[in-house]
């Protein structure tokens, strides 16, 4: 029972996260997948990166320490911060 709940929560987190990224980059969620690297996405400039970090922190009430930001390469790396809260 509780592990099902956990899965559906991380599913909805993933969906919400992709929507945030898609909205900021102004593209379709269809063209995103978790293994995509940042530099593969058009429109992912420094401003977009800052906005995405900001939205994730605000919407998921989590913190991404400034030292760890350079370590984030793929979209999946973001999810670690979202799901670990």
């Amino acid at each position: 029972m509780s592990s099902e709940k956990l899965t559906s929560k991380s599913e909805s987190n993933k969906k919400k996260f992709l929507e945030i990224v898609a909205d900021i980059l102004e593209i379709d969620t269809q063209s995103l997948n978790l293994r995509t690297k940042k530099d593969q996405l058009a429109g992912w400039d420094s401003l977009a990166q800052i906005k995405i970090i900001a939205e994730i922190e605000e919407q998921f009430k989590t913190t991404i320490p400034i030292e760890e930001i350079p370590k984030i390469i793929t979209l999946k790396d973001f999810l670690a911060y979202i799901n670990k809260r």
Partner: protein, 550 residues
């Protein structure tokens, strides 16, 4: 609307947001705000914005100076630039933010906060400019931060990462506030607030609980209704017309208003009172007729979901907000109502007298129904029409009239204050205003006529409108007569008139025909007319009352 946002910090993200809904100026870099302001040929002024928002960050502004005196000198210099700009651009609205200074310096409790002293000094300058200049307004950024909290408003991380002071949430809040100010500029205000009485202006039912039984007092629980009434009275002072629609006996209601010690509102604060047992929508339809207002100008506040639903179904154009279930929130509720439906930049003299003016209208309507003929009635009014070329103090009311007038409006051109200012200053335009008084009272400024000189011989009537409250009195005859004679004296030989049909201006569809103008073109309902100024006396026009050119 053409907007510009200037700042001493990076607000690109906010500017892009606003840019989605408005034509917004994007400055090159944010350090150049001084050049943008003081140089008349700057990118900013070439863009010709109508509204300029200057959103300042206190910390960044005063980083350079170490002591308070030095900071004050910097601020003084800044305000001298702003003053010069306000003088040079009287037709542009400037909104300057007040300062917020997060308290970062570590110091003892005894030591006075220099941050607060700087905030206060800045604000004292804003108060000066607000008094001196019509086109200067304070953008209350500090209130937004106070209400949300600095923790939610600022982000250290975003600042270090990308020079962005504000969180995404803060940007959304600022954007919403900017939109609120812009709705006030565009005069999108509802005109009339209709109020229920029982369980709305007081707790309980006056007919059953009596004067001593209703909840309304200066202190404790009853005070929540008193505070609600205070908010409503504030609205009335801003020119919002109040009306009562209540299922009650007139005597019970009169007694409550006249005798209850904690009643803030007076019966006289309401322009119209419908106190009877008929359906509310019937009463509201009557109010709309008697005040000569469209149904979309009304907001109804009523505690009863049944009544609200009845009105919503019968009259879908009326705004019927939900009433708070927890009446402790009534004071907040009336502030939200003001924000949502009655955004107001400033009050004109006419606004302040609105209630009195509408009360006079109702009396006039009643007098009319008891006279034998329309001509006799109009003669009996003893009207006094005053007509003059628009001056600076008329601009607010003129813009308001072009924005709000729908029925007696030949071309329905909506103008902002900045545009009216431009017409007044231009050699090619002549802007006229008229006021009307009669034996029932003074209606104030009720007519706008704008002439555009197309050539040395031909003039166009760009705008000709009358407040709906003074229609059907033929004052347009006297006004147009004066303008024609005046243009003839200036050696014009022809006047062109236009009628552009809308859903609401059917009443003036045949106005030019009646006034003796010749129809020269007709297409898609739009009509173009011509009047030769050589032989003016042939017309059969109607003249009632006294006409004076000031």
């Amino acid at each position: 609307m053409k907007i510009a946002i200037l700042s001493n910090i990076n607000l690109d993200s906010l500017v892009k947001r606003i840019g989605k809904n408005h034509d917004t100026y994007l400055a090159e870099g944010y350090g150049s705000w001084i050049q943008e302001l003081i140089s008349p040929r700057s990118g900013l002024f070439s863009f010709e914005p109508e509204n300029v928002f200057i959103i300042f960050d206190g910390e960044e502004l005063t980083k350079v100076e170490a002591n308070l005196l030095g900071i004050k000198k910097e601020i003084q210099r800044f305000f001298s630039y702003v003053q010069k700009t306000l003088q040079k651009k009287p037709s542009v609205n400037f909104f300057l933010s007040n300062l917020d200074f997060p308290l970062k310096k570590i110091q003892t409790i005894k030591e006075i906060r220099r941050e607060k002293q700087v905030e206060n000094y800045w604000y004292s300058w804003q108060i000066k400019l607000n008094r001196q200049f019509d086109n200067f307004y304070i953008f209350d950024l500090k209130r937004l931060i106070e209400e949300k909290g600095r923790e939610e408003f600022y982000s250290a991380k975003l600042w270090y990462l990308g020079g962005m002071k504000y969180t995404m949430l803060a940007e959304k809040i600022i954007e919403e506030e900017i939109n609120y100010y812009l709705s006030a500029v565009s005069l999108k205000r509802k005109k009339c607030l209709i109020l229920d009485l029982d369980n709305t202006l007081w707790g309980g039912v006056i007919g059953e609980d009596g004067l001593d039984g209703i909840e309304l007092s200066d202190h404790k629980e009853g005070a929540r209704f008193r505070d609600f009434q205070i908010g409503i009275k504030d609205l009335e002072k801003m020119g919002v017309v109040l009306a009562i629609v209540s299922k009650n006996n007139k005597d019970d209601v009169r007694e409550a208003f006249e005798k209850h010690k904690s009643m803030v509102l007076k019966l006289n604060d309401f322009a119209i009172k419908k106190i009877n047992w008929r359906t509310k929508s019937e009463n509201i339809k009557e109010i709309a007729r008697e005040l000569n207002l469209g149904l979309d100008a009304f907001v109804l506040i009523d505690d009863s979901p049944v009544e609200r639903s009845q009105v919503k179904n019968a009259l879908p154009e009326i705004e019927v907000p939900e009433f708070p279930i927890d009446t402790a929130l009534l004071s907040d509720f009336i502030r939200q109502i003001q924000r949502q439906f009655f955004p107001t930049l400033k009050v004109t003299d006419e606004d302040k007298k609105k209630t009195l003016i509408y009360q006079q209208d109702v009396r006039r309507t009643q007098a009319m129904s008891s006279t034998l003929s329309l001509d006799d009635f109009l003669k009996s009014l003893k009207m006094k029409i005053q007509f003059w070329e628009a001056k600076k103090e008329d601009v607010g009311r003129i813009a308001q009239l072009t924005q709000k007038t729908n029925q007696f409006n030949l071309t329905t051109k909506r103008y902002s204050e900045s545009q009216i200012n431009r017409f007044i200053q231009s050699k090619n335009y002549q802007v006229y205003v008229a006021s009307l008084a009669d034996r029932f009272g003074d209606n104030g400024k009720i007519c706008v006529l704008i002439v555009k000189k197309l050539s040395k011989k031909t003039a166009l009537i760009d705008t000709f409108l009358l407040s709906c409250r003074v229609m059907s009195r033929f004052i347009e005859d006297q006004i147009i007569n004066y303008v024609e004679k005046s243009l003839k004296r200036e050696n014009f030989s022809k006047i062109i008139g236009e009628y552009r049909p809308t859903q609401r201006n059917m009443p003036v569809k045949e106005l030019f025909e009646r006034l003796g103008y010749r129809l020269i073109d007709q297409k898609d309902g739009k009509k173009k007319y011509e009047l030769g100024l050589n032989n003016l006396d042939q017309f059969r026009r109607k003249y009632f009352g006294e006409f004076t050119k000031k």
